[in-house]
Symmetry: D2
Subunit: 345 residues, 4 copies
């Protein structure tokens, strides 16, 4: 089969690899129908993730058809269409039993990381019963690719951790795919105002069409001043960090009000300065989380009922064998006005 | 001044009464701008509520202007426009400190019950700081009448108690004003499906325009069968009882699924049969509550931001001195296709 | 092997049965070390449970040694000592993923019900990874028999559902094994007062030594009057029903205060009268639940750290082959002053 | 009357001041019976708090008798014995209605800060109904001084914010009065293990008698190594920071496990380094809070029922006019083996 292979920092190729086979009776082999590229994949390609070794097939998102199934898989059969969760869950360890699948002792984020991933014609999924989700006939499978990672990430790490509630004024720092996923799913809880903060006017304009009520270009405007004016000097109820830089985390600390929440979603490479000299008495909650994909079944229900439209996040389409070109586009997201790209096999 | 006075079962009159005056430094006198009639007022008129004595001015909802203000009121001044909460809160007792204003040791539901109410040109509001809400200039005051009682009741007793959450399948039994208030505010939490159950096709049709996804006329259809079909035999996540009869409470017990919630909002006159022989193992939560109006500030924010449109509940308009006629209309709600009526002073 | 077999209403025998074998690779065969008898077993013996057919080996509690292990079991190996959970969990279905193991689509309460149980020399446990708990060397295995069912039941269905919190005044109706389990575990949350209600003075006296602060013999005293006196007429914060009769459920409704919880633990055979005519406005929460045994790992930690002593619940000891005699004793619990009996293989 | 007056950095005097009088009808004048000194008072004396001006009477804790009462105070009368809350709550503002009394728009921490405090023979308490708590006859008033600040602070900012639960392994960094208050009140939720970390062996020894299960002297031992050994390399469920320094906050970050909580109680003077490069995926919650004293009524119930013994925190006794000497002792807490001192008027 063909697959996208990482060959060390800056090197990747769409090349022939052996088709995966069942290793364990709890495995499934999936024929990929559609996959996508994640911001994390760009980091991998730069060599930022030491867990990813040369020779690895990349990718942790996608939908597909079950091609082959292990004898111990109960929930699925050959021919079923499925969503592949970016997080693999054994369903048996202490963490899985607590719903912390990202910390699964045998799984977690392993796809396209420590085992071969989904940017390929076929992929092997361990613990299939707990790591795949069924797709009924007639569902919009392209939309459902967004349930592999981006939507549960924005929702679980951003919206749920921040405890967004009706009437809240919330701010989302970063209007990339993750910030946009938080923007779409924050509306499940009907905050009164959603302030989107980014440096890219195009993305901010798009955020408006996704439901943002206020836009701030932090390269051009005084974020703190504008937020304090919007909140009658109280600060926001919720600040969602969807970038992963000290500067954007700093914004969150400045704008959060007494009793408020900072939910970090961004992947950070270095430590940040936490202003305990002012925060200590402010009744603030700061959270971190890697997505567990526990909410995928719920998100699926709201996609099916029309309460959530994942297609809003999809800006570009490619054939799977055009994946090198797709990486180019996604890697120049601002110039290309790209959010998520769909690769069809 | 003129006021609607209860004169014993079946007897009421729009008649001259003394204008109220400040009794306590924590009081405010409000000139009523707009008020409405509650289903409870109909019960009072029938003589169902022994706490309401002949001679009482009825009514516990409305917006108005502060005409006079006690010396100990800090949050308001003469001339302010305000929402009158149906629940009076002293802000100092054990229950108020816990947010259970309906159980306030000195207040609770007293307006138009144990003290004179709002269906009058003026009303005295005790503990004004904790029992009124400010209306900023330019707000839609007619819409805000719905924040006195009906919307917080549907939201607090129905939606919040039932813990409606994204992806849920919920059923609301009763499409009268309270059921409709639950329907509008349940959508704050983005349930996947909202099933509305009533015997009045007109109300059901209206519910559809308010956001219901499925309608069941319980006089014509087999509720249990239809619900089980819609829920793949699992039953609903949430059943909200918005009628107050044994038969409607029975429906809730039949349709609720394992792990589900029954939130009672209806006012019951007699006991119901609780099927513990099947429910004991079903992991079901049943709740009751009288509205506390703790969520009024939040509801106000979502009205202001356009997330909630209370005008949907308003079907008829009268002058305040047409109140006898308004009672006629509201008392024949089904025939008149009435939900809430607005009385303007 | 020898086992206790149900032969229809009123008939049971300690007799020879084939030793169980691995059916599925997720199974384990356990050699029973210690088991016990549950109140539910008495109901089975009377013929009250139609799911239990003649020929069934009874029992759903116990500790043992793994004798044989399926190829797909990861968490255990031959020779491991384990607690057998009364609830079998597949770990893969919708309900298991939500922690509602009692509603597991393939498991739930099946042991000694729809499959052979633990009152035998050996038992087959399906889905061993998710239905057994490891016992480290040196642990008090007799105490741990109480973690199979009775302690998680009292804790999950009573204490957790009722949301017992520091400072609460709680009442437990029924001082049998389940009520006593609730009494022991309610103290995890440090309620200010624990009122124990029963008709058996001996059990009440024992409850005092387990941490009850007030005792009421409902056969001799006016429960409502005494509770109202103890609570300054406010009623209790929590009432735990640990009997399963209309009369005891009635007591709970009478004594619960505004904002309070009624947590039902008792197994009911018929419907009860729910006094909605008074409860509708009282802000009361009523819950039901079958134990899920999700808290067994937590309970185990508190047993190991000395925060919980399950031995308090054990009143009698027998050899496993004396089980007919043990049933006699346990069936005459009041006369024999019995709570839980231990049967040692 | 006599009072302790702050005269600028390093200068204080026990001197004559005018006896306070009722300013507002919601005030009460309290004759102090017993008061104490807080760590914050030491900071004030050094000049660290710019809000405290020279001439201010210090102190925000104590119990007393109502000497005079404003006309609008309902809950108390002259002669009542009361606990003075360190936080003043108006009961009417947005924050008070949310239970965030520390952010009260007219109150908050003002006693011995922006208005005269309790280290005096008399003190004026604004908003008495919401800022005092009644003491019934026969209560241990000395113990109740600990309910003014230290116990609610340890409980609300440490234990509640950290969501301590049965079975948890928790660590408390700092065995001063605040850490000890967290230690005593954490036991309300029955954690399996409580690890106390400090540099003072005397305080650690005392912590053991208060319920700590493990002690670590961070000056002598490798905290991280010891914690990882105790937690099977998983880290603690809860780390409570009760010091207020970058180094102790650092310890908390190192030892917290996946899914864990860091609850900051310490007052910080500068920013700390937050290791987002490792924490981002760890599912960690970090909280800050100034005490709101919303739990004082609950703590009082558990003192009365014997579930909490505040006397454990009291190490020294003085007459109120020996307050300068008391400051000496409290200021040399380690040498004097002091936790809290009681000053009796």
């Amino acid at each position: 089969m063909k697959a996208l292979v990482y060959h060390g920092p800056g090197k990747k190729a769409w090349e022939e690899k052996p088709k995966p086979a069942i290793n364990e009776p709890t495995d499934a082999i999936i024929k990929i129908l559609k996959t996508t590229i994640c911001g994390t994949d760009l980091h991998i390609m730069k060599g930022d993730l030491p867990t990813v070794v040369a020779g690895r097939i990349i990718g942790h998102e996608g939908v597909g058809i079950i091609e082959e199934i292990g004898t111990e898989v109960d929930n699925f059969k050959k021919g079923d269409h499925v969503i592949i969760s970016c997080i693999t869950s054994c369903g048996k360890c202490e963490y899985c039993k607590k719903g912390m699948y990202s910390h699964c002792e045998k799984g977690g984020w392993i796809l396209g990381n420590t085992i071969d991933g989904t940017q390929a014609e076929y992929v092997r999924i361990p613990y299939a019963d707990n790591s795949l989700h069924p797709i009924p006939a007639g569902a919009d499978e392209e939309a459902l690719v967004m349930l592999s990672d981006i939507l549960p990430t924005g929702f679980e790490c951003g919206v749920l951790k921040a405890e967004v509630k009706p009437g809240d004024i919330i701010a989302i720092v970063g209007a990339g795919p993750i910030g946009m996923a938080a923007l779409l799913t924050a509306q499940f809880f009907s905050p009164a105002e959603i302030i989107m903060i980014d440096v890219d006017d195009n993305r901010l304009k798009l955020a408006k069409t996704f439901g943002a009520t206020h836009l701030i270009n932090s390269a051009k405007e005084d974020v703190l001043k504008k937020i304090m004016s919007l909140t009658l000097k109280k600060g926001v109820d919720v600040a969602i960090e969807a970038v992963g830089l000290p500067a954007t985390f700093e914004i969150c600390q400045e704008i959060v009000g007494a009793g408020g929440h900072i939910a970090n979603v961004g992947v950070h490479g270095k430590s940040v300065s936490l202003h305990m000299e002012t925060l200590w008495s402010k009744n603030v909650t700061i959270t971190t989380r890697l997505v567990d994909t526990v909410t995928t079944p719920m998100l699926f229900k709201n996609v099916q009922s029309g309460k959530l439209d994942p297609n809003k996040l999809i800006t570009h389409h490619f054939k799977l064998d055009q994946i090198i070109e797709a990486y180019e586009t996604f890697g120049n997201a601002s110039k290309e006005k790209a959010l998520k790209v769909i690769l069809t096999n």
